[in-house]
Symmetry: C2
């Protein structure tokens, strides 16, 4: 006898993540998307956009650390950073840990995501009041088209799935603009979906196909993110100058980790190299995609 509040996200044919809920804290339609905040006994507060988990208090550290630090520790002295999407602030928070950072542009299409994150996820949206951070309520693809060439040391694409409003952030034209706004030694880092997802597994090979003509070095790495579909998540780094592994110095990274503000919980200098060692089936997924004709 009695009811239960429950959230489930299906990544395919009714399969996915489920959790009971203690409370529904917030729900609105921003004009762009449904934004909900719910409280789960295991995952803590969860931010849902159009019914999909964007972050949970429990495991957001893995996603944000692994999107940001492989790129920033590859650069000897990152100063100027562009974050596309990432209105929750987690990516900006990780960027700001690096003492060399002078300027961060965050481009979020939906200002309500920022406002909701500031209200409900203060430890995630922690960096928005930092004077180095400049918020832009704009479409990411449009913003990058009007940004100056060679300006950024790092560009992070912290997007939702490659459909709907985020579709343009997975296209050739967008990547080409990202390359243009990056300094010659700059690095592009993006989330490239799960290699086990029945549909979005094609994102990873597609990203390689589109980035390789633009960047000398393109390499992907994985992290385990429990509340994202399948829990096996890929990220991709691209640079015209730096090789993600050969130009990475674990001793330099280790010294810099000790000087970061705050403490990392997932990323380590050793894990940087290790994360790029891909399982056989992921290597094949990428090679097969590269062998196909352009999309």
């Amino acid at each position: 006898v009695g009811g239960e509040l429950r959230f489930s996200e299906f990544f395919s044919h009714g399969a996915g993540l489920t959790t009971s809920l203690d409370a529904l804290l917030h729900c609105e339609h921003s004009g762009i998307q449904h934004i909900c905040v719910v409280q789960s006994p295991v995952f803590g507060r969860m931010l849902l956009l159009d019914g999909m988990v964007m972050l949970t208090e429990w495991d957001e550290f893995i996603y944000h650390e692994m999107l940001v630090h492989p790129a920033l520790f590859l650069l000897p002295f990152p100063r100027k950073v562009l974050v596309i999407g990432g209105g929750d602030g987690g990516t900006v928070r990780e960027v700001l840990r690096h003492p060399s950072i002078e300027h961060v542009d965050l481009v979020e299409i939906d200002p309500r995501v920022i406002a909701v994150a500031q209200s409900y996820f203060p430890t995630v949206a922690a960096g928005f009041s930092d004077p180095r951070v400049h918020l832009h309520h704009a479409d990411g693809a449009e913003f990058v088209r009007s940004a100056p060439s060679g300006f950024y040391d790092a560009v992070f694409v912290d997007s939702t799935d490659p459909t709907g409003i985020a579709e343009s952030l997975f296209g050739e034209a967008f990547y080409s603009e990202c390359q243009r706004v990056l300094h010659a030694t700059g690095v592009l880092a993006l989330q490239s979906e799960s290699p086990l997802h029945p549909v979005y597994c094609q994102t990873l090979p597609r990203v390689h196909r589109l980035l390789r003509p633009l960047f000398r070095h393109v390499a992907s790495y994985l992290a385990s993110i429990p509340t994202y579909p399948t829990g096996m998540w890929s990220f991709t780094l691209a640079s015209r100058h730096y090789h993600p592994l050969e130009d990475f110095s674990p001793t330099d990274a280790q010294q810099r980790i000790e000087r970061l503000s705050g403490k990392l919980r997932y990323y380590t200098a050793e894990l940087h190299r290790a994360a790029f060692a891909l399982p056989g089936f992921v290597q094949e997924l990428i090679s097969e995609g590269l062998a196909q004709p352009a999309p």
Copy 2:
């Protein structure tokens, strides 16, 4: 209007994995546990023991490859192997890929698991008819007590969670017997639960506490297994002789991978080293556990 067949496994407070089902293929109580086989549109056939996912056709290759190959590629010429649990046959299948294997003892407490696996998971239970394999319907802890000293090159503990019938497979006495039945250069490999699990995250540090007095080298590694609780899974290797990384030769492993029967989908020689690079919070979990008094 209409019903839906659905399976959900909660690892804590109503949080976990969920999937719609196409069919319930088999359900019985063996006298020891409930054994069910269900068909999921995404995960394929799933083996459930007492309502917990033991394997799915979709991702069992990750668990079985990662339990077996790090240990066997560390040994130059593995011949005699003991598998405790693992009645589905996946571990034995991976062991048999190595051409040097001469003798495999599989000790499964519940013969019905073997029978159900043979009926419903023929590609997993593939090795049971191999003349090198000897099936024993016995309690794993008892079997190992009566096994001869120094006999095995590798012991695999392919157990369920550390509770109920599997509890004895996570105890000091059992590990001590495992050490005794191993050759001086032998390797013990076991699944050590998820470092993100609210309760069983304590298994990993406990395993280190118990194994370190018995083995010179104890090291853990991770793999991403979507249908296991949290999807982030740990394994632990222990050996009196071989260091899991320093004594591992990627070139030797690469040559041997090419001579294996069948094709690996997850394990690679590069991934062997990489998997031992643990996220910061997992390193801390292990160190904090070692600093505590014995359980």
